[in-house]
């Protein structure tokens, strides 16, 4: 959630360069979020990934790590592809022996978050501007060098997307995102 004034595309060269940042992020694709509870065993990741690749679905991000229950891991996949086959794919995922369940959390009532590390080339005045943006988004500087900084920011994916677009094109040297993780609210199952 940001209170930055939305920019008007096409009003300045800077705006158009921001726009290309947006396009690079693939903001125009419909993204789905699937949460899976899987056995923590070798080969599970490959089998899950193959369900997506076989259908020509692209995996935008995939996070997997041990869950609360021993021997089981939680996986959150953000993917893009034909929405009409999403339901079928979730059934194919559930069919895998190592998958306990797979649920579509694209529009469910859930909490989601993500971390991004952004390395930005800046010094002097441009650094001041970068630090202002960082402060606004509650991002922390985790690396401070002569000609660059690394910002760490966490929050919803839209917040991260918004922040990233604010940096002038070409100033972002590297960007690493953790991928979205979700959890269903109250006692609903993720």
């Amino acid at each position: 959630m940001s209170s930055v004034t939305p920019f008007e595309p096409g009003t300045s060269s800077r705006a158009s360069s921001l726009h290309s940042n947006l396009a690079e992020l693939g903001e125009t694709k419909a993204l789905h979020t699937i949460a899976l509870l899987v056995r923590n065993a070798p080969g599970v990741l490959v089998r899950v990934a193959m369900v997506f690749s076989r259908r020509g679905y692209n995996i935008e991000s995939l996070v997997v790590s041990p869950g609360a229950r021993r021997g089981f891991s939680r996986m959150t996949v953000t993917c893009s592809g034909d929405p009409s086959i999403l339901e079928q794919m979730i059934k194919q995922l559930t069919k895998l022996i190592d998958v306990v369940h797979a649920l579509d959390h694209t529009t469910s009532d859930r909490f989601e978050t993500e971390i991004a590390l952004i390395k930005i080339r800046c010094s002097g005045d441009s650094r001041r501007e970068v630090l202002e943006i960082a402060e606004h988004f509650n991002a922390k500087v985790v690396d401070y060098a002569f000609e660059s900084v690394i910002l760490r920011v966490f929050g919803g994916s839209e917040k991260l997307d918004a922040m990233i677009t604010l940096f002038p094109e070409g100033k972002i040297v590297e960007l690493v995102r953790s991928g979205k993780i979700v959890m269903a609210r109250a006692l609903e199952v993720t």
Binding site: R54, T94, K95, V99
Partner: protein, 571 residues
Amino acid sequence: MESMLPTGAQKLIQCLEREGVEYIFGYSGGAAMPIFDALVDSDIELILVRHEQGATHMADGYARATGKPGVVLVTSGPGATNTVTGLLTAHMDSVPIIVLTGQTISSMLGKDGFQEADTTGITYAVVKHSYLLNDAADIPRTTREAFHIATTGRPGPVLIDLPKDVTQGPCDAAFVDEVDLPGYTIPTHGDPDAIRRAAEMLSAARRPLLYVGHGAVISNAGKAVIRLAEKLRAPIVNTLLGKGAADETHPQHLGMLGMHGTAYANKAVDACDCIMAIGARWDDRITGKLDEFCLGASKIHVDIDPAEFGKMVVPDVAITGDARLVLDELIPQVEPETSDEWLEQCQAWRQRYPLKYAKQGGLRTQHVLDRLNALTQGNAVITTDVGQHQMWAAQFCLSTTNRHWVSSGGAGTMGFGFPASLGAQFGCPDKKVWAIVGDGGFQMTQAELATAAIHKLPTKCLIINNNFLGMVRQWQELFFENRLSGVDLVGNPDFVKLAQAYGVKALRIRRPADVDRVLAEAHDHDEGPCVVVAEVVKEDNVFPMIPSGAPISGMIIEKPKGPLAKPTGST
């Protein structure tokens, strides 16, 4: 004390014995040697094949004919990769086989060792599940799980990759009876609400139709299908893989539907107002052009695998469960109001558009198979290879008994028919088993003639020899202006001499007048295998035909006069 512990291989064999395994179809090699050694002391009989592909098809044929899982044992590297086609075949048709592959020692994994292959990596897409063991202590649990997964729910192949150090070293683990697989549920009874809605839909239908697939075979639902059909006064059609579930000679049975199904089955499907899929998956060979398939008919889908609902066809009612259990619940709730009119219409179509073939002009496959059907009366187990002969066999060999029909449908694997018949014979020693194969497919696994001969299996192998890759030739004739490419099987051996070279009795049919006599001679020969070579006309076409991607209304009943547009569907 370590010296008292069995080796991993010995434990594995003991686990297989506990699972009731009688035969292992296999081929030895370095990485699997500990297991082959342990087999020497076991009552399980090793059937040594001549190619690993043959082993997988044998295990597959055994499983389809008996309902029990077939077991394969091969070595690492090329031995394992030679099983991929057989795994695909079993996977596509939901057949339970366990494939045990030797593997290089654990410390060499991923280092390109001699005869190492990333077996689990290569086979992910063609198995129901697979394991790579790195601890002998996992052997009992893994074996039990593998058999459980392969044989329950929607059956399928399971692979276990066994590094040599794991099978050679000691195994300190107890046998296991229970499985703990939270990610695996086995549907049984259908949802009562869905069953009730399906019953209402069937009761309201004027022209209901039962469309029966492999799921009805697996769950042994044939008698229930007949009860339902009789109550509803509905016709029955089956897929290639559904043959034999419900007696095909029943007066309400219209035979196979689909691309090469009977014209009357397809007309009934096109005209019905309610179609119920029982253990069938609306395959493209059945539906043709999907958006013109059964328009205006309500659709009920009974399947043990919920991932099939909505994959091809969106049903009005979907019931997850075992076909037989679902039908048993459903039948009492059905209150039909049909008259005899619908069945009479179906019989009229049967009279008007019968299957036919030319009786003059040389020996025809259809004639040979028609006579074989008269001879066996549905009492023999019939396996087929893939091609024109397969379609004619499906049309003319009427299956009356469950699990008497063994044919590769989903994968359409050439080379399947002959080894599958051997596996079926091992599983059904008291039954007559006939393999119907083409000259193309036979040559892909013909080396198993040796296996048939050594074990004196009384299996009969009918080779339909037209010296062509017939089905592809047919397509080239109909859709590619008869530009033949890659279909002329010149250089075929004399199959009679080839069989005799293996010590196998072989007979030849050259003329229609020879058919009955030769088939009977082969049928009665039980001292060992018998090959019958039928030298049929070089060119003939399977009709009816619905070109892929065409709707049922595009069905071609006889050879057309003019050229045809290329089909839009996949092959």
